[in-house]
């Protein structure tokens, strides 16, 4: 049986891994390779790293750090941030990533998803959608452009039809709050897509993970809980397991 995945999702900023709080402030997690080594030892299922220097400051993608991390990462590694051309995807995959995450470029030009999926396969293409509630409506959010007038589910369905392999769905409002995932948002996505949804933003306790899976998430992304709480990945999985949610045991 396919297991639900537990995935640290962290940001790369100024050669450090950091965690953001509602996309605004940052807390340092640690040195990239050391951190990846710890994740690997703790048997998390996958790892997502978003290079925000590349995405926000428009700097070159930091391939040096990516390849250092990949060397320590004997689990799937997804890299995002600054993925705006086919060349950028080649660069990141050659540095050792297994998948890439596309955000801004997909909003700008959905054909980029199709083009990427045709060359690298859908399994390689994660599309990231950031969501913020504006005037009580779920809205796609972009750090530069602000709110974009489209419902996240509509966008996700379009991405799926263009060949996206997975959707990384981040709630900006819940991000860094430790108050739990946005279940209302998840419910709108439940059973609507044929590709996996990785929910991100808000996990503070293991039961938040249980709720998210029960409300339709396929995989759980988080950062805070792994670094600033007393819970280990094994304890989170234990809790999921108790609720009959299939997970990979950390032997």
């Amino acid at each position: 049986m396919l297991k639900h995945r537990l995935i640290p999702c962290v940001l790369l900023k100024d050669w450090q891994l950091v965690k953001s709080i509602q996309f605004d402030s940052y807390r340092t997690i640690g040195h990239p390779t050391t951190t990846v080594r710890v994740y690997n030892a703790r048997n998390v299922d996958e790892l997502i790293v978003l290079d925000i220097d590349a995405s926000i400051k428009g700097e070159e993608i930091n391939t040096e750090i990516i390849s250092d991390m990949a060397d320590e990462c004997f689990m799937p590694l997804t890299i995002g941030g600054g993925i705006n051309s086919i060349e950028a995807i080649y660069t990141v995959l050659n540095a050792g990533a297994d998948k890439i995450s596309i955000n801004s470029k997909a909003i700008e030009n959905q054909n980029f998803i199709r083009e990427s999926a045709n060359i690298f396969g859908s399994q390689c293409v994660v599309c990231s959608i950031d969501v913020k509630k504006i005037n009580n409506e779920y809205t796609v959010y972009n750090k530069e452009k602000g709110g974009i007038d489209i419902h996240p589910l509509t966008l996700a369905k379009e991405y799926e039809s263009m060949g996206a392999g997975e959707i990384l769905l981040t709630s900006v409002d819940h991000e860094g709050t430790q108050q739990g995932y946005d279940l209302e948002l998840l419910n709108q996505f439940k059973d609507q897509l044929r590709i996996p949804i990785i929910i991100n933003g808000g996990m503070g306790r293991p039961e938040h993970g249980v709720q998210a899976i029960q409300n339709g998430a396929d995989a759980l992304a988080a950062a805070y809980i792994f670094h600033f709480s007393q819970y280990t990945p094994a304890q989170i999985k234990e809790e999921l397991c108790k609720c009959n949610i299939p997970v990979r045991s950390s032997i």
């Binding site: 297991k3 639900h4 048997n43 299922d45 060397d71 799937p76 995959l93 690298f120 897509l193």
Partner: protein, 209 residues
């Protein structure tokens, strides 16, 4: 202790070679990435990884004139061979990905798409494998251990060479073994402890066991 033999990873433009190389290096194996005919002839073992489309995979092997060479090295000289993901699928008779395409036809079996409407495709994530029997590739790996999969097409069951089966809505062949030829649909190089164990077992294979 690993034997000092050389493992060649075939570079045929189908991605993801570096992580396979890193996996072998982690367990202390001597490994090279190459598509040079002489290097492949000199190697003791050959690994065919690969992510991407079946047809393109076969075409790239043809372009590099590797098919005849591989048949000589693997079928005639019986070099140990490991196909990973697409590399395992290429071992089959044919694939129905996009259009019907013949494979290497070293192991009987066809490659078809997951087409259950209820299933999310690609099949991506950790899934358990049920071993069909004792196999040297799975030494020190418990039955039902989880491995990392990512694929939209699968190797249909029915072949007597299935080394393990996995269920994702349908049952499919998650690894094969026919004499010196091994294949796994999952990615051992991305499957942490037990994945590295498989790479170690492959690196340690010796003729006669």
């Amino acid at each position: 202790m690993l034997s000092d033999n050389t493992i060649a990873i075939i570079d045929y433009g189908m991605g993801n070679l570096r992580s396979v190389e890193k996996g072998f290096q982690k367990i202390g194996a001597n490994v090279v990435i190459t598509n040079d005919h002489q290097s492949l002839k000199n190697a003791d073992k050959i690994v065919l990884p690969g992510v991407g489309a079946f047809k393109e995979g076969m075409e790239n092997l043809k372009k590099l004139k590797l098919i005849e060479l591989l048949e000589e090295e693997v079928i005639e000289k019986k070099k140990f061979f490991l196909g990973i993901c697409l590399g395992m699928q290429l071992l089959g008779r044919k694939s129905y990905e996009i259009e019907e395409t013949p494979g290497l036809n070293w192991v009987d079996g066809d490659v078809v798409k997951f087409n259950d409407k209820e299933l999310k495709v690609p099949h991506v994530g950790w899934n358990n494998i049920a071993l069909t029997g004792k196999n040297c590739l799975f030494q020190n790996v418990p039955d039902q251990a989880d491995f990392y999969f990512v694929h939209s097409y699968y190797f249909k069951p029915g072949t007597k060479y299935a080394a393990s089966l996995t269920n994702y809505g349908v049952e499919f062949v998650s690894s094969v073994n026919k004499e010196n030829i091994f294949g796994c649909q999952f990615h051992p190089e991305k499957s942490q402890k037990f994945g590295l164990e498989i790479l170690k077992n492959f690196a340690n294979l010796k003729n006669g066991n």
